[in-house]
């Protein structure tokens, strides 16, 4: 049977090639959509985990894009008095408050990636939370230790490496897992170390001097509440503390999720239309094959092929074509996904995490199975009609070659 199927496909090579290409494009698009969807979903989830808070509080004069601040991990060089952290902790219903201090290097002096790098001073509680998000994470940092984003330093980005920041030597404690955000390009350190760096740098002085001594400043507060239904109320109380701006994570998360869903819907619709188009195309192809080759099928029946064997032959041909097309389409789809991924990563404005090998394999296997099913579905009807052909038809027909 395999011989008959292979022969049939190879002898009608242009027809087979056209079908293969049609299937390949569909399967490729589906795989790309699948990977992009999961990349977005994981990115958003990591962003939410990374934030670990219900509210983000920044100085009132900060120009903040909530999406970038919350989920893209983009820090801002804005400052407010650190007293707000203590005052926020006193508000009833507030479970946890974490302060962060943002600054920047001018460029990495050694092992430089050639761009300015964000430095984020974090409290021990943040360190503990980040440790849970990384395989080799540690719960406490020494004053001269840093955590480095996944995309910085290349080969040097491994625990124990030494880097120089604004004239000071730091040891790399561990690297973060990819988040698909600006955090991948950031360096995190104990909050007092970040303050010291900013205070001792003449180049950075213009950034903070209007706000006062860096040791008395913070850039943002991450606030977690006991009861999410009281978010609005607590948000108002935080804003009452001073000239502060409060961003609600849930709102931003939902808005971003809706945006992502809309984007994914367009991609999924394109994928679904391609899959449906594939079914229609293959159905047309195999209906036509059933009609065009009925002389051949009738001969097979006359020479002893059973009805199930006829169904196997027609469906087998369809499934082989669909699978071969899907196999060709998978690298195309992966290439398309990589292209989209590169564009999205370059913008750094949307959380996106590259799906791992398991998800990639699952996507590829899913596309193969789906197209095998599409092949089966599109050939089942024609195959049943072929199986019903009267073998006597072969007595009345002319030569079939």
């Amino acid at each position: 049977m395999i011989k008959l199927i292979a022969n049939s496909l190879l002898r009608r090579r242009w027809q087979s090639l056209a079908t293969l290409l049609g299937v390949a494009l569909g399967a490729g698009l589906l795989l790309a959509v699948f990977l992009l969807y999961h990349g977005f979903e994981q990115g958003l989830e990591r962003g939410r985990q990374k934030l670990g808070a219900d509210l983000l509080v920044v100085p009132g004069n900060a120009t903040v894009d909530p999406d970038r601040a919350l989920f893209a991990g983009s820090p801002l060089n804005v400052y407010m008095d650190k007293k707000y952290a203590d005052e926020a902790r006193k508000i009833p219903g507030v479970r946890r408050v974490e302060a962060q201090f943002f600054t920047q290097s001018l460029k990495l002096e050694c092992c430089s990636v050639g761009v300015e790098s964000r430095l984020i001073g974090i409290e021990d509680k943040v360190t503990q939370r980040l440790a849970g998000m990384s395989a080799n994470g540690r719960e406490k940092l020494e004053p001269d230790e840093v955590i480095v984003g996944s995309e910085l330093l290349g080969e040097m980005n491994r625990p124990g490496s030494m880097i120089e920041l604004l004239g000071n030597i730091f040891r790399l404690a561990y690297r973060l897992e990819p988040t698909g955000t600006a955090l991948d390009y950031a360096i995190l350190m104990p909050i007092d170390s970040a303050r010291d760096l900013a205070a001792n740098s003449d180049a950075l002085k213009p950034v903070w001097q209007d706000a006062g001594d860096p040791h008395q400043l913070i850039s943002a507060l991450l606030v977690e509440v006991d009861d999410p239904s009281r978010l609005k109320e607590i948000g108002r109380k935080l804003e009452d503390l001073g000239p502060l701006k409060v961003i609600r994570a849930a709102d931003t998360f939902q808005r971003l999720k809706r945006l992502m869903n809309a984007f994914v819907f367009v991609l999924a619709a394109a994928g679904a239309l391609t899959a449906i188009g594939g079914v229609v195309y293959l159905l047309g192809h195999f209906s036509s094959v059933a009609w065009d080759r009925k002389g051949e099928w009738a001969l097979y029946r006359a020479l002893g092929a059973t009805k199930p064997r006829m169904v196997q032959l027609v469906v087998g041909e369809a499934v082989v074509l669909a699978l071969a097309g899907a196999v060709i389409g998978l690298p195309l789809g992966y290439g398309l996904y990589r292209l989209a991924f590169a564009r999205l990563s370059a913008q750094n404005s949307f959380p996106f995490v590259a799906p791992g090998g398991v998800l990639l394999a699952a996507g590829a296997a899913g596309a193969l199975l789906l197209y095998a099913f599409i092949g089966f579905l599109s050939a089942a009807g024609p195959a049943l009609r072929v199986a019903q052909l009267e073998p006597a038809l072969t007595m009345a027909q002319g030569d079939i070659d």
Partner: protein, 247 residues
């Protein structure tokens, strides 16, 4: 091995109608191992329909067909298919070769359909050799002449050593020389124990074959007297054909 004169195939009062039109009426016939049965008649007399009924390609409207003693009407589709694959060898009016398969694979087609092509490969090559086509094994049908195609169809019919060979106008469209070659080969088969059912309007072939049944307007008349099958000379099994014969 089948014993000579063993009844392999039997039609008893078989009729076949298409709507109000009766194509065959109350046909009774016995096909025996090692014998030729020739059916002659004008075009449209029901010859091909009779062959299709005997070959289990069609079902009779009434009457009974027995294959090796079994009532064909009670067989399942799978059993009928199996019989068509192993019990019968078909030679159709046209060669009916599959254009996408090589000559060798066309000969192997019944085995390919039965899933035993590998074990029949040597037999297929031997048959092609006997029929003077060994150098054409890898050709495609469109590269063959009409006579060569007919011989490929002959090889395909014999591949699984069936009990009954059904030949429908086997010399149709062939020139005299090639028609004689094909006839020689076919008429030599009963000596090997095959039952040969020959449907033809080629009077010369019918006379050589003997045991002539006449069919006219769907009614079959037995031979007036038994005609012995002329014993074929041994060399008839090898067709002397030039290998550079052009299509």
């Amino acid at each position: 091995m089948r014993t000579p004169s063993q009844i392999l195939l039997e039609a008893e009062n078989v009729s076949r109608s298409y709507g109000p039109e009766t194509i065959l009426a109350n046909v009774s016939l016995q096909i025996r191992a090692g014998e030729v049965t020739t059916v002659v008649g004008p075009s449209g007399s029901g010859k091909t329909t009779l062959l299709a009924l005997l070959a289990l390609l069609l079902e009779p409207s009434s009457g009974q067909i027995r294959v090796a003693g079994r009532d064909a009407g009670k067989l399942s589709d799978a059993e009928r298919s199996h019989l068509r694959n192993t019990f019968y060898g078909f030679i159709f009016q046209t060669a009916q070769l599959v254009g996408s398969l090589s000559v060798l694979d066309n000969v192997l087609l019944p085995a390919l359909l039965a899933g035993k092509a590998r074990e029949k490969r040597t037999a297929a090559r031997e048959l092609l050799d006997r029929l003077g086509l060994s150098t054409r094994a890898d050709f495609l049908p469109h590269q063959l002449s009409l006579g060569q195609k007919r011989r490929v169809a002959l090889a395909r019919a014999l591949l699984l050593r069936p009990a009954v060979i059904l030949a429908d106008e086997p010399t149709n469209d062939l020139d005299l020389r090639r028609a004689a070659q094909v006839a020689d080969f076919l008429l030599g088969l009963p000596a090997d124990g095959y039952a040969l059912v020959l449907v033809t309007h080629d009077q010369q072939l019918a006379e050589r074959a003997g045991n002539r049944w006449h069919i006219q307007e769907g009614r079959l008349t037995p031979p007036s007297r038994g005609a012995a099958v002329p014993p074929p000379p041994a060399e008839h099994f090898v067709l002397q054909t030039s290998t550079n014969e052009t299509p």
